[in-house]
Subunit: 206 residues, 2 copies
């Protein structure tokens, strides 16, 4: 079976650890590429242009929208976030699975355009663990943590729109689970239409 | 996450090796139970009642149908084949995944009653390999082989009704692939409704 690249959309509560999981996944396996989003928000300390995000101006972002250069975009806390089309399409055509770490609005935009995209939602083992992790970072004020928990409540409404949930209890197990889920998604009939049709054709010759 | 048992329906071309795969799977992992079908056909050499099949009379079979004691049944080459309900329900309630090796008619009956059932279709790497395997058994006449290939052509029409296809090239890899596919199926939102609702409830308390 010739494997076609598929888009993997990863969402999840802030603090659920999705960034860490995806970085580890791409480190372990060659078959994945991590898409880098463009944003108009300011870089945080330690962030680098072209690594965490492409940091661009609002004018540049709006030009990309106008040119259909983004496969999804959303506004969140007054800033634009979006996924450049070129990189994604290039990787898919090479048979590489492209991972996008985006929010639900973007996830649903992707599913509309790429019906074979796989939507994953990363969850903590419990809400208590989530709160503890958010506090544990030690970098955020109570107000910010309260905001994130409120945001998690909102995000939790959309979980049923996703194809799979992944519980991040143990990082290593979670990375392997994600790898297995994506591997399994490659085995649906709709993602193997060519192989199935070829089999039918061959059988027809007997 | 508390894991609920799900039904795994396995179909595939005769000669694709689905029996061997499933036997090996249940040998390797405790979480699976193989359902044994009832049939009115005569036992073949080496087959034992209660191992390959429950061999029963047509009268007994029709009584089971009347009592709603089968979760699916079909007639194929003048014989009844069906799955007794009791064993399946017992295992599911224990959190064990029950594997049914049945044909497409039965598979679709199951999906109607158990919407969370996972339907797998086992395929050979190519039609040529399938023919070779059927001949390789050395036990069948050309006429029987021709009939089976004709049957495979018919079965190939329904592949898109299945959730996943599995290519049986290497037995060991194939068994692991099936295990991963079933494991992934356990991670869909609809199979974790309780966990998701509990998370929402917990988040609501902050």
């Amino acid at each position: 079976m010739k494997r076609k690249g598929i888009i993997i959309v990863v969402s999840g509560f802030s603090g659920a650890g999705k960034g860490t999981i995806m970085k580890e996944l791409t480190k372990r396996y060659d078959q994945y590429a991590l898409s880098i989003s463009a944003t108009t928000r300011n870089p945080r300390e330690g962030e680098e242009n072209g690594r965490e995000y492409f940091f661009i101006t609002t004018e540049e972002f709006e030009k990309l929208i106008a040119e259909n250069g983004l496969i999804e975009h959303a506004k969140y806390v007054n800033n634009y976030y979006g996924t450049p089309r070129k990189y994604v399409e290039e990787k898919l055509s090479q048979g590489i699975d492209v991972i996008l770490e985006i929010e639900i609005q973007g996830a649903l935009q992707i599913k509309e355009q790429y019906s074979d995209a796989v939507l994953l939602f990363v969850m903590p083992p419990s809400a208590q663990v989530l709160e503890k992790r958010l506090r544990g970072r030690g970098t955020e004020t109570d107000e910010v943590i309260a905001k994130r928990l409120a945001r998690a409540k909102e995000e939790a409404v959309g979980i049923e729109k996703y194809d799979y949930i992944v519980v991040n209890d143990d990082l290593d197990e979670c990375v392997e689970k994600v790898h297995e889920i994506i591997g399994s998604a490659h085995n649906t009939p709709d993602r193997n239409a060519d192989f199935i049709n070829e089999m039918r054709e061959q059988l027809g010759k007997f």
